[in-house]
Amino acid sequence: MTGDELIWRIAGGSGDGIDSTSQNFTKALMRTGLDVFTHRHYPSRIRGGHTYVEVRAADHAVKSRGDGYDFLLALGDSFARNPQDGEAYYGNEEVKPLTENLDELREGGVIVYDEGLLDTDEVEDFDERVEENDWHVYPLDLRSLAREHGREIMRNTAGVAATAALIDMDTGIFEELMADTMSGEMLETNVEVLEEAHAAVSEMEFTHDLEVPTGSHDEEQVLLNGSHAVAYGAIDEGCRFIAGYPMTPWTDVFTIMTQHLPSIGGISEQVEDEIAAASLAIGASHAGVKAMSGSSGGGFALMSEPLGLAEMTETPLVLVEAMRAGPSTGMPTKPEQGDLEHILYTSQGDSNRVVFAPGTVAEAYEQSREAFRVAYEYQIPVVIVIDQKLSGELASVPASHFDREPNPDLGSVLSEEEIQEAPHHASGTFNRFRHDPEDGVSPRSIPGQKDGRFLATGNEHTPQGHIEESPDNRVAQVDRRTRKLESIRSDLDEQDHSNQTYYGPEDAEHGIMVWGSQQGSVEEAVDRLNEQGESVKMLGVSDMMPYPKADVTEFLESVDECLVVEMNITAQFRGLTQKELGRFGEKMSSLLKYNGNPFEPAEVVEGFDIQVNGGDEPPTAQTRIEPAAGD
């Protein structure tokens, strides 16, 4: 077994604390000096149903969930359904913490299961599979251990203690973590369960050789997910207003902001629907506050009309779209990248917006900041696209990444003194929407400022904002609003830091393009392919609009062919690339996945092998190849 990496999976029932237990375990591994990364799988259900979290930890950088895993901690599902006649399509849920998790367990892996709640006799061919795969199985009555020393719900703690004993970690680090969030009798009891379970398991005879890797960090790390990163980027750009309506997975960004805003002088509003949510953000922004809203696909659909209003009235606005598998309600807790075209083009008329799709937790912070800067400087809506994967996956990031100066600047806004000097109509109305600015940006005033009055309207309008449909004015205003996109493209190109990510040898023959959350898996696949003797590099694109034509053209020109990896069936990003560049149709093929699970690096390696080397179709393929034009 490789000593430099551990992938641990905790499985059980929804509502049994699997998520919080895994977070503590992840943090413990991070504190020992390892890089960590998590993957969450859960149903759209409050109580019961198969759920697991995978925690990957290594002495080197980890960028994805990895392939398969080494260690299964199978807990019970307190709210499982078990139709005794076996007729229901969902089958026996009680045993799913075991049955649903065996396929991906690596050879030589470890299984710890709660024998107080799970019976391997109900798992088909369990003993045969154990033997075949050389799994090491440790049945433990975690429930009784928890009951004996504390309460039954502490069986998660007992499971963590068992894991620690089996991979040679002591309990100290877990006790420290518990003390961070618990106190009094609750803490004492949990510590007792932890120590007793650890001691009990330590006395057992081990047959496996899996151990926790050891590592060290050069600098302090923090554990956070894409939702935290988006929220923290917003806070550091001076966003102090959020309006929203709950929807998975967007709710995470909304609740993180809501948790912090009151104590830092901001306002959070939970409102009646997403139309209101986006409209409130527009109202607050119009009144001079940096504001945001967001949703997931269905809620974002309701925001289409306010989004158009923000474009037409040139009201700065930042929206988050946390994608999940669609259409309609789709699969609420599963990731997909199927909303790209929806985000780019929804709302009537020619779209006039900016769209960023960060690829990692660190990028989510960067691009959230960029979104606010661009929105307020250029008076345009900016959409940050994340998905269920990026929004919920935890990763260790150096704390110094967040050690930056805040930027509360309102962008293109005039002070009262500047308003006095600025052009006004003869009637005294401020020329809010001048035809002439070269970069397309006509600075705005804020209600309450003296002599800055103007009308903001969703109708086409004169420089003062009054409704006007003459062809000359129409052309001047459309041209100016469109010029903003060109200015933004130049602005982004001139930044020290590109939103695009390059990975792999510059002179590689083959390319893989990816957008958004799948970037980490592709980077790991690129490493493996190059180790296997292939010549591959990656371009991870974040700027969806305005599209980085120069960057992508240069990349595509430099490779013989390019595999475009995305989580949808219609190859939306590849389509966008062809539309924007008008060429390379014969160079780009697609590797697609839409089964509700993100790409694993091995699937990208496999897909590359099939497409580029004409390898065999994999027997358990959950992916699909869409060949290049003309192929």
């Binding site: 306002i267 009144a287 158009g308 903001a456 309207t457 003062q464």
Partner: protein, 315 residues
């Protein structure tokens, strides 16, 4: 007076406000049809502003879509002419962002009671300190005469050719049930009362809903011109306590029925001066800053918090 927004509180410094200051030099003449009730809303609003002592630069008028939505083209102030039915969520956020502004929202009966009905209910429920004027002409005018949420049962139009099978919505009752703390109805033909009611509504500290009957001479010729009207406060026929929720509810119900029987009842129907506005509620729970949030962005001395200082929970 605010340092960054010097228009706010101008009148308190003794500045005289002329109602003509609210006539925009750029578009002084409205495009409504001759005889349209909308002119009266504009006139009453211009009359109310000097009474409440607010200037164009400290007033934000947010409108929806329809003939009523053009109100802010003909009224000089900061303004947003938004989208159909969405004036309220935009307006209430502006008020939260800068409570120093005088925020007024306006729209028609289709805008406010139809497509924007959800926002009407929730804005009233939250009791934002703002005024909402609904131009109620019982018809969709700008789209040429379709049946609206307040059209009478049996109303025939191209979209309801056999006569509407729906009872009209009850706007006053809906406002009361939802939580509005000032509910009134006035009519275009009653300019003195309209100005008084708008003045009271704007001065009211909470969500003030004014159902403003505005005859449509083009698409709703059958409807009455809302004459004769009765002011329920002036009439001896009606005796109810405007501060009593039960009595107000009964009076509203009767008023809504009577409109379709040809009797136009107007006046104040419910006033609750004790209910705290949403802003006060939010400030009392610490969910809203004491100083207007918008001011902070203009304060060069302001100290901005950083996420770096929130990272302890992530270590």
């Amino acid at each position: 007076m605010s340092k960054s927004f010097s228009a706010i509180g101008q009148a308190e410094q003794g500045e005289e406000i002329d109602r003509e200051a609210f006539t925009p030099g750029i578009e002084p003449q409205a495009t409504w049809c001759p005889g349209c009730g909308d002119f009266s809303v504009l006139k009453a609003l211009k009359g109310a502003m000097p009474e409440v002592g607010r200037t164009p630069d400290e007033t934000l008028l947010v409108t929806g879509i329809g003939c009523s939505g053009k109100l802010n083209s003909y009224f000089e102030s900061y303004a947003m002419h938004s989208i159909h039915g969405r004036s309220l969520p935009i307006a209430r956020a502006a008020k939260l962002a800068n409570p120093g502004l005088e925020v007024i929202a306006a729209g028609g009966d289709g805008d406010g009671y139809g497509i924007g009905g959800n926002h009407f209910m929730h804005t009233a429920r939250e009791n934002h300190d703002m005024t909402y004027i609904v131009f109620n002409n019982e018809i969709f005018g700008l789209t040429k005469g379709q049946t609206s949420p307040t059209s009478p049962k049996g109303h025939e139009s191209k979209t309801q050719p056999h006569g509407s099978a729906k009872d009209p919505i009850r706007p006053l009752s809906l406002a009361l049930t939802s939580g509005a703390s000032y509910v009134a109805r006035t009519a275009a033909v009653n300019p003195r009362q309209a100005t008084e009611i708008l003045t009271e509504a704007i001065e009211h500290d909470g969500f003030a809903h004014v159902d403003f009957l505005t005859q449509c001479p083009t698409w709703n010729k059958d409807a009455k011109q809302y004459v004769p009207y009765t002011d329920v406060q002036d009439s001896d026929d009606f005796d109810f306590d405007v501060h009593d929720r039960q009595e107000a509810a009964e009076m509203m119900h009767e008023t809504e029925d009577k409109l379709y029987e040809g009797e136009v009842l107007t006046g104040r129907f419910y006033i609750d001066e004790d209910r705290r506005s949403y802003g006060e509620e939010k400030r009392s729970t610490g969910e809203m800053p004491e100083e207007p949030l918008a001011e902070r962005y203009f304060d060069e001395e302001a100290d901005w918090e950083r996420s770096y200082d929130l990272l302890d929970a992530h270590k």
